[in-house]
Subunit: 143 residues, 12 copies
C-alpha cells in the first residue's frame, strides 16, 4: 500500500457551514470519507490532517517527507502568502499536488496567485471535492 498524506489548511475544518455558496455543503469529514474508495482502487492508504497553523503544516510536510509517498494539500489562505510552506514543499522529495475547491482565477485578486503551487508538481482548482479525487489519480501516476 502506498501511503499518501492529505493535508487541509486553515478554515477547512468549517467546510459545510463556511460560505457554502463558494465551498459547497459537504463537511471535510464527508470529503475524506469519499476519498477512501478512490484510494483503495489506486492501492493507496490515506493519512488525514487538518491544521489552522502555518507552522504545523510545515511540520506535517516534513513528516510526510519521511513516511509517505505523496501529498495532497489544500493550503487554504496560506497558499497566497506562505514562503515557509513553499520552502517545506521544496524541502521534501515526494510529489505534492495542490488542490483548491474553488477556481482561484475567478476570485479576488489576492487569491489568484498561489505561491505554494510554484513548489508543487501541479495544481487542480475549481472542481469542488472532485479535485481531491483527481489529485489522487495524478499522484498515482507519479509514485
Amino acid at each position: 500500500m502506498k501511503s499518501v498524506m492529505i493535508i487541509n489548511g486553515p478554515n477547512l475544518d468549517l467546510l459545510g457551514s463556511r460560505e457554502p455558496e463558494i465551498y459547497g455543503s459537504l463537511t471535510l469529514e464527508d470529503i475524506n470519507k469519499g476519498l477512501e474508495s478512490t484510494a483503495n482502487q489506486l492501492g493507496m492508504e490515506l493519512i488525514f490532517h487538518q491544521s489552522n497553523l502555518e507552522g504545523r503544516i510545515v511540520e506535517l510536510l516534513h513528516e510526510a517527507g519521511q513516511h509517505c509517498r505523496g501529498v495532497v494539500i489544500n493550503p487554504g489562505g496560506y497558499s497566497h502568502t506562505s514562503v515557509a510552506i513553499l520552502d517545506a514543499i521544496k524541502s521534501i522529495s515526494i510529489p505534492v499536488v495542490e488542490v483548491h475547491l474553488s477556481n482561484l482565477h475567478k476570485r479576488e485578486k489576492f487569491r489568484r496567485r498561489s505561491l505554494t503551487a510554484s513548489g508543487a508538481a501541479g495544481i487542480i482548482s475549481g472542481f469542488g471535492q472532485l479535485g481531491y479525487h483527481l489529485a489522487l489519480r495524478a499522484l498515482s501516476e507519479m509514485i
Copy 2:
C-alpha cells in the same frame, strides 16, 4: 448575558513595555480589567484571549462562532497579511469588530491596509484602549 470574545493578537501581551510612545503604557491586563465595567453596563460577559499564533486565532474565531454573540479583535501584525484570519472571520456568522490602538493611516505603508478588516463589520483605529470600549458599544447595537 451576551457572551463576547476579546481576541488580542501577536505582541499585544507585551503592552506597557512595548514601544510605549506608540502603544501607550497600559498592560493588556489593565485594558481588559477596564473593559469589565463597560461590559456590565451593556449586559455582556467577556471572554479574553491573547495569542501570538495565527492559526490559534483562526481557531478562537471558530470557537467564538459557536459559543459567542460577537467578537472584538485586534489582529496586530496579522491584520496586514493573513488571508487565513480573514477567511475565519467570514466563516462565522456573528459580528466581528476590529480594533487597533494606533491610527494605521499614520504609520508605515505596509500597516495602512487591513486585509482582515475587509471581513469585519467595522474598524476602529487610533484611540488607544478607548477603541475596545467603543467596539463593545458598537457590538452592543448589532447583537
Copy 3:
C-alpha cells in the same frame, strides 16, 4: 459646555435616498437629531455643517480650530483625494475624528485609503450612524 463641530462632506445631504443599501435609510437630519442626546450626556454642544465644496470644508475646519474643542468629520468622497483637507486637519490643534458610514475596506479599491485620516486622531468606519456616536465618545476622552 464643550463645543464640537460635526462636518459632513459631499453627497451626505442626500442620505436616506442615496444608495440606501450602502448608506442606510436615515436622513442626515435624522442622524444629527439622534446625536443630541449623546452630546448632552457628554456635556457637548454640537454645531452642524454639511458642504459639498472641498474648499468650504477646509474653511470649516479653520473655523472649528478657532472656536471649538473638537471635530467629527465625514469627508465623503474627498477622503481619498484631498491633500487640502488633510493639510487643514493638520493646521489646527484640536482633535479630529473621522467617521465613515460604510466599512471602507469592503469597497472599491480607491475608497480603501483615507488620505485625510492620516491627519486625524483616529478613524471609525462601518457602523452606520452609530459611528458618529462612538466618535463623540472618543472626542469626549480627548478634550
Copy 4:
C-alpha cells in the same frame, strides 16, 4: 454518447519535438489516441481540434456551444492575453475545463496568470498528458 470537444491551441501541433524537457516527448496524436479509452469508459465521444489562430479557437468554442456537452481546452500561449477567448468561453453555457501540460506557477511571470481560466469551470496544470484525462473525469461529473 456525450459529445466533448478537445481544443488545443497554438504550437501544440509541434508536441513531441517542441522543447521536450518542458512539454514531454509525446505527440499531440499520441495524447489524443490515449484519451479514447478514458472517453469510452465515461461514455463520451471526443471531437479533436487544433488551431494556431486565436479567432478560429473562438469559433470552435461557438460550435461546441451548439453541438457538444463540454469542452477541454489548452489555449497555449493565448491563455495569458486573449480577452476574445475568455469572452467566447463565457458566451457558451456548457462547462469548459482548461488544461496545461506544465505547471504555470513554475514558469515565467507572464505565464502565471491565465486570463482565459477566469471563465472556465476549473483548471488543471502541471501533470503532462494526464491532465487531459483528469479533465475528462471532471467534465463527466458536471454534464
Copy 5:
C-alpha cells in the same frame, strides 16, 4: 543555396502609404526586391511571406522550421503581445532574427518591450529597410 524565410507581420502590406514619416516611402515589394542582390551575394534563396494573422505567422514559423535554414521576421504589432509567436520561435531549431523598421526605444512605451525577441537570436531596430539586409548578413554567419 541556403533557403531563408522572410516573414512580415500585420500592416506591413501597407508600407509606403502607412505613416511614411515613421515607416518610410518604400513598399514591401520594393524592400523585398532590394533584398535579392544581398541574398545572391550570400548564397541564399529567399521565400517571402506577409500575413496579418497571428496564427498564420505561427504556422509559417513551423513551416520554416522544417524547410529553411533561417528566418528574418518583423512581427509588427504582435511583437509586444504574442506569447504564441514567441513559443513558435522557441519551438523550432533554426536561427530567427527580428527586425523593426523604426527604433522601438524611441516610440510609445508599449512598443519598447519585444516579447517575441526574447526567443530570437538577435534584434535589429531603427534602420528602415537596411535592417533586413543586416539581418541576412547576421543569419549568414549563423547558418
Copy 6:
C-alpha cells in the same frame, strides 16, 4: 452614396444569446437591420462584416481604407490588447469610430483601457445598439 464599413469583432456573432444582462437580447442581424434606416437618412451605404480573427479585422480595415469613406468598429475583446488593429486604424486615412455596447468604465479593470481607441476619431460606449446609430451620425459630420 457614401460607403461605410461596419466591423464587429470577436463573439459579437453570438449577440442575443451571449450574457444578455450585459449585451442585450438583440442579435447582430437585428442591430444591422436597424441601422439601414439611419444610413438611408444620412445618405450612406453600409457594408457589414463580423470576424473573430484579429488579422482578418486588420485586413478589413485595409479594405475599407481603399473603398470606403468611414468605418464603425466594435473590436470586442481585441480593443484592450491589439497593437495590430491599432496600427491598422492608424494606417488608413478615413475616420474610424469605435463603439462598445457596454460602458467599459463600469467593467473589469482590463476592459477599461481601449488601446485601439487611441487611433480612432472618437469612442462611444455604454448605449447598447444605439451606439452604432450615434456613430453613423458622428461619421456623417466627418466625411
Copy 7:
C-alpha cells in the same frame, strides 16, 4: 417637454480661446445655442450650467435629480479625480451621459481613465461639439 440639464465643468467657460487646437474655436455659448434645435426636435427643454467648482457640480447634479429627466455632463478636469462627483451621479436616479470634446484615449495618461464615467450610463468622447448632440439623442432613448 422633457427637462434636461447640461453641466459643463471647469475651464469650459474659456472655450474658443483655450488651446483651440485641442478644444476647437467655438465658445461654450455657441455650442449651447447649437443644441437648441436638436433639443426641440427631441422634445427636450435644456437648462445650462457651467461651474468651475467641484462641489457646485455635485449640487447641480442633486438639483437635476429632483427636477430633470436626464443630464449631459462634461466634468472636464474633475473627470479623472472626483470621487465626489462620481458619488453624486450614483446618488440620483436619472440617466447621466458623459461627454468629452477630445478623445481621452489620445491624450496624457492621467486623462485616459474617467472615474466619473463609471457612474454614468455611457460616455461619448472625441467628437467636439457634436458629442453633446449625440448625448441628447442617447438620453432621448433612455427617458
Copy 8:
C-alpha cells in the same frame, strides 16, 4: 505698471500658526507686505488673492488671464491632484510661476510630484517667503 496676481491656495491663510516648523512663523499678510518693495523696484502692481476653493482658483486664473501680465501661484495641496487648475494655467497665455514654501522633494511622496507645475513656466521650491520674491524677479524677465 505691470499688473501681477499673487494667488495663494488652501490653508495658506493659516500661515504663521500652521505647522511653523515647516511653513515658518510669518503670516500671509506679512509675506504679502514684504513683496510690495520688490514689486515697486520691478515696476509691478500686485493683486493678492487667497482661496481654499479649487474652483475659485480656476476662476482667479481666468481673471488674471484677462487683466494681468503674469501670475505667481502657490496652489498648496491642490498642486498634487488638480487637473482643473493645470487646465486653467494652460488656458491662459500669460506666464505663471509656481512657488512652494517648503522643498517638495524632501517631503511625503504624494507631495513630490506637482501636476500643476507641468503647466507653469517654472517652479521655485524650498526657500520660504523668499520664493515669492524670486518669482517676481523671474516674471519680470518674462513680461
Copy 9:
C-alpha cells in the same frame, strides 16, 4: 557568562537534506555544535531553539527579551512576510542580529526584501554557517 538565544525558523530543522546546493550539507545540529567554541571564546552561553511556527518565534523573542543579552535569528521564510516577528523584534530592547545562509540578493525577487531585518541591528547574508559565527562576534561588540 552572557546568555544569547539562537533562533532558527521554519524548515531549518531539515538542513543537510534540504536543497543542499543552496543550504549546504551540514545539519542544524552540526551548525549549533560548531558555534560552541566561538561562544566560549567570546564568553557567551548559547540557548538553541528551532520552530516552524511564526507565533512561537514571537514568543521566543519575548522570552529572550527577558532572560538574554542578545539574539541571533534566522527567520527563514517568515523574513519576507511577518509583521508579527518584526513587531516582536522591536518590542524587546536587546540587540538582534539576522542571519541567512544564502545571499538573499541572488535569489527570487520575493526573498530580496527582509521585513524582519528592518527591526534588527544588522543582517549577515550569504556566508553559510559562517554567518552565525560572524553574528556572535557582532553581538559580542554590542552587549
Copy 10:
C-alpha cells in the same frame, strides 16, 4: 567676500549648441560671465566648475564644503539617478541650491523626480539662465 561654488554637470559644456530649443542658445561661458555682476552686487566671489564625471562632482562638493559658503549646482542628467551626489550634498554643512534650465515637470517622466534635490535647500527649475541668478539671491539670504 563670500565664496560660492557654481557646479555644472554633464553635457552642460555643450550649452549653446545642444538642443537649443530646450536649453537656449547661450554658452556656459556666457551664463557664467553674466553671473559676475549679480555676484558683485551680493558681495560674492564665484568659483566655476563643470564636470561630466559623477565622482568628480562628488569631490567638488567636498571641496566646497571646506572652502566655500554655498553652492549652486545643476547636476544635469545625474539629478535623477545619483545617490552618490545626494550623499555628498548631505555630507557638507553649507547650503546647496539646485538649478535646472528647463522645467523638469514638463519633460519625460524619468526627468521629473530629482533625487539630488531631496538633499538641497531648494530647487529652481524652468527659468533658463535666470535660474542661476535667482539661486545666488537665494543663497545670499541663507549665508
Copy 11:
C-alpha cells in the same frame, strides 16, 4: 576617409575572460582588429576608445561630435541607467548606433530597457562581435 569612433563602455576591457558563456572568448583587441577590414571596405577610418567612466564616455561623445562622422557605441552597464550618456548622444548631430553583444531581451529584467538607445539612430543586439560589423554597415548608409 570617413572618421568613425568606436566607444566601448565599462567592463568591455575584460572581454575574453569575463563570463565567456555570455560574452564570447574574443578580446576587445581581437574584435577591434577584425573591424579594420570592414572599415576599409566601407572607406572608414576607425578611432577606438574604451572607458569604464560614465563621464569620460560623455566626453568621448562630445569629441566625436566635433571630429567624426558617426559613432558605434556599446555603453555596457550604463545603457540601462545613464541619463547623462543619453543626453550626450542627443547633444551631438552625427548618427550613433548602439551595439550589444548579447540579446538584451533574453537577460535580466533590468537589462531589457536601454535608456541610451532612445537617443540612438538604431540598436543591434545579440549577434556577438558581428554586431559591430553590422553597425558599421548601417552607419555607412547614413553618412
Copy 12:
C-alpha cells in the same frame, strides 16, 4: 600572505564628519588602521583604496582580479544603481564581500535594494566599522 583589497566608494572619505548619527565618528583612516591587526591575525595583507568615481571602482575591481585573493567593498551610493560595478564584480573570479556601515533595511526605500550585492559572495550590513572585520573573517574562510 594573502593580498586583499579594501575598496571604499563615494563620500566615504568624509567619514567622521558626514552625518555622524548614521555613519559614526571614526574617520576612514581610523577604520583602516583598525583592520590591520585583524588582517595580521588572518595572514592577510591589505591594500586600501577609496574613490568617488564609479568607473575607477570598476577598474580597481579589475586590478584586484589580477593581483589579489579577495575584495572587501563598500560601494556607498553606487550600490543601488550601478550595473557597471555589478558587472565588474561578476567579471572577476575572486570572492567579493560587500559591507555597509548602516542597516540598509532601516533606511530610505531606494537604499534597501543592493544591485551590486547580487554579484557578491555575501553582504554584511548594519554593524558600523565592525562589519569590515567580519568581512575579513568571511573572506578568510573562502580563500
